[in-house]
């Protein structure tokens, strides 16, 4: 598959990690009481740790660009994401370099269902060289 400047990645819909997944990630037995407490004090639920959303972006890039290896991934967490909510992942190729190994730079974003940009980022990928 050939890729080029301006190509879009996604969009792909995906649910944010669940309460149980967050619990496993942070090494807790469960987070039910935190979630319940959050709702009791008027919040929507527990906040997903930012690095879990970075993992979502890495998986998204890997599936969209399987012939490329991730070299760098930068993310900024703009607003909290609540466990279990609906997300949309999308991106676009903004740079394509040929010198010293073929490389792509992609802009990435995770949006909440209302279109709010929760996570923005960029990825640099190097083309995998066919072996032998």
């Amino acid at each position: 598959m050939t890729v080029g400047l301006g190509d879009e990645l996604g969009p792909r819909q995906r649910a944010a990690p669940s309460d149980d997944q967050v619990a496993v990630y942070i090494g807790a037995d469960h987070v039910g009481e935190f979630s319940a407490h959050a709702r009791a004090v008027g919040r929507y639920g527990i906040v997903v740790p930012g690095p879990m959303l970075t993992a979502y972006l890495e998986q998204f890039v890997r599936s969209e660009l399987p012939a490329w290896r991730l070299e760098r991934l930068a993310t900024t967490f703009r607003v909290p994401t609540i466990a279990g909510t609906e997300l949309v992942l999308r991106g676009a190729i903004t740079e394509h370099h040929q010198a010293e190994g073929e490389r792509l730079v992609c802009d990435l974003v995770i949006e909440h269902r209302d279109g709010e940009r929760a996570v923005t980022g960029s990825a640099t990928l190097v083309k995998l060289v066919d072996c032998c």
Binding site: Q59, R62, A74, T75
Partner: protein, 144 residues
């Protein structure tokens, strides 16, 4: 101007050894399940997904003592992947505070603490470099 968040001279820039981590296939599988990485779980696990490195150093370390009424959140990070993290290998993790600065954000003044985390393999080769930003701000009056 007096800084809200003070970092002692002996901490700023000083590399702190956070110990060794021996990575196992089980650790990688647990991580992959937690972040819903079904594609990674579909193959034999001898290498970790790139972002696994973020679990090798828990929390924002070295820590900074915050004054009463302030809190910190994880603002973002920049990950450089130099070598894959592999099951059965041991890595040394270290970190340091490289910069502290103040700025104005949408919700007022805040302090940014920039840390560098490094993951080296046993031969001393750099596997991953993480630059992360902690955003520190005053807790809203209503939440006090």
């Amino acid at each position: 101007m007096r800084r809200v968040i003070a970092v002692s001279d002996d901490l700023l820039g000083r590399e702190v050894d956070l110990g060794e981590v021996t990575v196992t296939s089980e650790m990688i599988a647990t991580y992959a399940r937690a972040v819903g990485d079904a594609a990674w779980l579909a193959h034999p696990i001898d290498e970790a997904p790139p972002t696994f490195c973020l679990t090798m150093r828990r929390g924002m370390t070295p820590e900074i003592a915050l004054p009463p009424g302030y809190f910190g959140v994880y603002g973002g990070h920049d990950l450089e992947f130099h070598r894959p993290i592999r099951a059965g290998r041991t890595y040394r993790v270290s970190a340091r505070i490289i910069e502290v600065f103040e700025k104005s954000g949408r919700s007022g003044a805040l302090t940014v603490v920039v840390r560098e985390g490094l993951v080296h393999d046993r031969s001393g080769e750099l596997a991953v470099r993480v630059i992360e930003q902690e955003i520190i701000r005053r807790r809203p009056e209503s939440a006090a």
